[in-house]
């Protein structure tokens, strides 16, 4: 995809009419938090958004798509998860989401493993997901390694931004990975940062390859951009006191660029998070004391964080595939009718699954909305995308039309009638 962008940039003077698409007459949601715009137009050219909204002129020679009665939106930005890393979760040999037996941790780079042909990618693309924030799970260490931003395009080049962030566990999971307690997790964190500085000062003198080295050379090297603030550090914590502890880290490591993931009790410390200008990826639906670090979980968490001024994206934590984020966002609108709950407007809710996660990850200049200049990741829906009755009818990624057939649809079509005809089902396709 990157190659394509460079190519189109180099050919500005060339005729572009064939690459210009105008989607007209639909309800347009920009994805930036604003309200949907009935009767809007979206123009995309050479893989980028040119304009979106009401009164947008259709360029001469543009290919037009009639969206009357439909909705036009940016694609869903799904995360933080394993899209592209997994064929079947429970089938270990098909699952690259964690490496318990690896000697490495922070150095692990998921970009090396993304498989754009994974059936799950095809299914979720057909469901309206166009980009994903991909991270491994931390297994043998508090560090999960370096995550990536990917696209779900039907092509051979899925990685939008490799090594986009480092992921670390500092709550209950971190305690477990570090040997059994939160102090052990912090000891591991501080020692890793200290060793990274040792490596910076004297790369030749740094051990990091002996069997008993606490941190491998490659891991120390991978932590330098984190310490320099060139790579965000996504920290998974849930409990209010854990969040407060994480917010103290910049005192010791002033250039850290923190992002919180989880933060089920974030609403209890929302003003502190907002003051620290730390963005959050939070669940929309976690409302149970599923663990002792999530005792105060509520569906109002996202709304309360947002009201306090925190930048929030919704985290995918379901089981039916990442396209379910639209349903989660819809629920954030629904709770607005419940006294005492902190609901979101439709525009705000839709932003939590599009520009919200993009902003949290620092890539909202590239993806997550139909603002001019963004990558043209566009979904045409047969209705309100947050509503359960709606489904995508067309998807573009980087301006390129995407196949809407998925393996799931093929299975469905094969078994529309269960009985076999003149030949076994294996011949029906």
């Amino acid at each position: 995809m990157k190659a394509l962008m460079l190519l189109s940039a180099a050919l500005v003077a060339a005729p572009v009419a064939a690459q210009t698409i105008a989607i007209t007459g639909g309800t347009v949601a920009i994805g930036d938090g604003s309200a949907p715009i009935p009767g809007g137009t979206v123009v995309i050219r050479d893989g980028r958004v040119v304009a979106a909204g009401r009164g947008v002129a259709v360029p001469a020679g543009a290919e037009t798509v009639d969206a009357t009665g439909k909705w036009v939106t940016p694609g869903i930005v799904a995360g933080i998860g394993s899209l592209g890393l997994v064929d079947v979760g429970g089938v270990q040999e098909s699952n690259d989401s964690g490496a318990r037996n690896s000697p490495f941790s922070a150095a692990l780079d998921v970009a090396t493993a993304i498989n754009p042909n994974s059936v799950i990618i095809g299914n979720e693309r057909a469901g309206g997901v166009t980009r994903a924030i991909v991270s491994a799970d931390a297994r043998g260490s508090i560090f999960a390694g370096q995550g990536a931003i990917i696209d779900l395009g039907d092509d051979a080049d899925p990685v939008t931004r490799p090594r986009a962030f480092q992921f670390v566990e500092l709550g209950e999971t971190g305690a477990d990975r570090a040997g059994g307690s939160r102090p052990a997790a912090y000891a591991m964190l501080f020692d890793a940062f200290a060793q990274a500085e040792d490596f910076r000062r004297d790369p030749k003198g740094f051990d990091g390859r002996s069997r008993d080295a606490l941190l491998k050379r490659a891991d120390a090297e991978a932590l330098l951009p984190v310490l320099d603030g060139r790579m965000p550090l996504v920290v998974h914590v849930e409990r209010a006191s854990d969040i407060r502890q994480v917010l103290t880290l910049p005192k010791r490591f002033p250039r850290l660029k923190l992002i919180l993931a989880g933060a089920a009790e974030g609403w209890m410390v929302a003003p502190e998070i907002a003051a620290a200008r730390v963005p959050v990826m939070a669940s929309a639906i976690a409302d149970l004391p599923a663990s002792f670090e999530q005792l105060a979980a509520t569906e109002s968490n996202v709304g309360r964080l947002q009201r306090a001024g925190v930048t929030v994206g919704v985290l995918f934590d379901g089981s039916g595939g990442e396209h379910g984020l639209a349903q989660f966002a819809g629920n954030l609108v629904a709770i607005g009718k419940i006294p005492g709950a902190a609901g979101l407007s439709w525009g705000q809710a839709f932003a939590t699954i599009t520009s919200g996660p993009a902003r949290v990850m620092g890539v909202d200049g590239e993806i997550g909305s139909l603002t001019a200049g963004r990558r043209a990741d566009v979904v045409l829906w047969d209705g309100d995308p947050l509503e359960l009755s709606s489904l995508p009818v067309a998807v573009w990624i980087d301006g390129k039309p995407q196949p809407t057939r998925s393996r799931q649809n093929r299975l469905r079509d094969r078994y529309l009638t269960p009985d076999e005809g003149a030949l076994p089902k294996a011949y029906s396709r």
Partner: protein
């Protein structure tokens, strides 16, 4: 961050069905029927559930889904003394009745989840509370889920308030081929499990096929380690059960020395005599077909396959066997046997005339079963299978009630049935709607507009977030 992983072991229950319920009944029926209550007690942990007080209530100007496929626009629902009195276009309010104007709102029967682990895998999900899988032997028909149920699980309250769930079946997990007995509960907090027990609901037997049993025991170097091993252990167990049943039937008919008691075999005898319903965790179509043949071999019936993600491939066969499929709307891909899951599953089952229903298997999913059905409807319509909204409500209440053997008492808004009723603040098949009020046996146990009608379990009392909107 890995909800799918939780699903690997957590879910799965099977309810089997028998025609004759016997469980929480506290009526003390005379033990004269064949094989019942003569040699040993069939109901040693009887229900002590009682309905809470309610007031005669008339809800007017609502859209009604009656749960059996009926729909009334601008209708009214009247209930009193814990029972549905009438459902119709216009009803007169009896003297003293509370009248609720439901303009713009909807009334449905309470949702019934046939597959839940609330109480036996409660929140918080710490090891000390992990009571759903007696994963020490592939055959544990002797365990009863009710002996694991913790009535203080915060999940019950969420299922009521956010999900409109009024009845649920709690199942043992799916590590074992014979996981143990299920229990059906009214979703009403109580100090004891017995006080939640649905009076007179039949017991279920949870069975499991496929990956879980063979993985759990195969990894311990024990049988079963394969799918054929699963069926071999199943058949050997049913053969023993048949023999046990013969001995006890003979004793109860003819007297003499009582045969040796075997608690596990009591349950299997209950299945073979039609008293206990088989609720069978099974994903793959080919395995379901084998299990249905096995059931015929030993003379029992599978009431429902749970997690039946491939049910759409054999919808005709399920219909032929009068066996239901209880499914998620769209879970797939988290394990090999779930790889072929599709979101049109429910609609394709309905199209073939098979008995189908939604289920949760999940403390979060149980709060949105109405939304899950709405997604399944949309997928069906995209495939050209147009099931009406009103018909789809059967997947949420009437069909699970039938599969649990309680459809004569709940699951639809028919006069005389339990007043298990939800008033939704909009169309419940829209993502934008929530329960506004929930009644169980006519008692209002949740009111979104009244914080005092919001249950707070013992566990949450005095903790951060106590009594918050959730």
């Amino acid at each position: 961050m890995s909800a799918a992983v939780l699903a690997l072991l957590a879910g799965c229950a099977a309810d089997g069905g028998g025609e004759r319920p016997k469980s929480a009944s506290s009526k003390g029926e005379k033990a004269s029927a064949l094989g019942r209550d003569k040699g040993y007690a069939h109901d040693p942990f009887p229900s002590t559930y009682h309905a809470y007080p309610g007031v005669p209530t008339l809800v007017t100007n609502v859209t009604v889904y009656d749960g059996e496929g009926g729909r009334i626009e601008g209708g009214s629902v009247l209930f009193a003394d814990g029972k549905i009195v009438a459902v119709g276009q216009t009803l007169e309010a009896p003297a003293g009745a509370t009248v609720i104007d439901g303009t713009g709102k909807w009334v449905t029967p309470g949702i019934i989840d046939i597959h839940s682990h609330l109480g036996d895998y409660p929140s918080p999900g710490v090891e000390a509370n992990s009571d759903g899988n007696e994963a020490t032997d592939p055959v544990t028909a002797d365990v009863w889920a009710e002996h694991s149920v913790w009535p203080q699980d915060p999940g019950f309250g969420r299922a009521l308030a956010n999900g409109g769930v009024t009845t649920l079946q709690i199942l043992p997990g799916s590590a074992n081929l014979f996981g143990g007995r299920s229990v059906v509960l009214k979703n009403v907090y109580a100090r004891t499990m017995q006080a939640m027990k649905f009076p007179g609901a039949p017991y279920g037997l949870k069975m499991a096929c496929g990956e879980n049993p063979k993985r759990v025991y195969g990894s311990k170097g024990r049988k079963p380690a394969t799918r054929m091993g699963n069926v071999a252990v199943d058949r050997a167990t049913w053969a023993r059960a048949a023999s046990y049943k013969r001995k006890w039937d003979k004793y109860e008919d003819e007297g003499g020395d009582p045969p040796e008691r075997d608690i596990a075999m009591d349950t299997l005898r209950g299945v073979l005599s039609g008293e206990i319903r088989v609720q069978n965790h099974c994903y793959r179509a080919d395995e379901m077909a084998i299990v249905m043949d096995m059931a015929k071999e030993f003379g029992y019936k599978v009431t429902a396959f749970h997690h039946a993600v491939e049910a759409y491939k054999i919808a005709d066969l399920l219909k032929q066997n009068d066996t239901c499929a209880a499914v998620w709307a769209d879970w797939y891909g988290f394990k090999m046997e779930s790889y072929d899951g599709i979101s049109a599953n429910l609609a394709l089952l309905e199209k073939a005339g098979a008995c189908a229903m939604i289920h949760s298997d999940d403390a979060n999913g149980i709060q949105r079963l109405n939304q899950e059905v709405a997604k399944a409807l949309a997928s069906g319509r995209r495939a050209g299978v147009d099931v009406s909204d009103a018909a789809a409500w059967r997947w949420l209440s009437y069909n699970p009630a039938r599969a649990l053997g309680i459809a004569d008492r709940t699951g639809s808004l028919k006069p005389g049935k339990m007043a298990d009723v939800v008033l939704w603040n909009g169309n419940p098949l829209s993502v934008y709607s929530r329960p506004e009020k929930v009644w169980v046996d006519g008692a209002m146990l949740y009111d979104a507009l009244d914080p005092r009608r919001r249950p707070v379990s013992d566990f949450e009392l005095g903790q951060p977030g106590e009594g918050d909107v959730k």
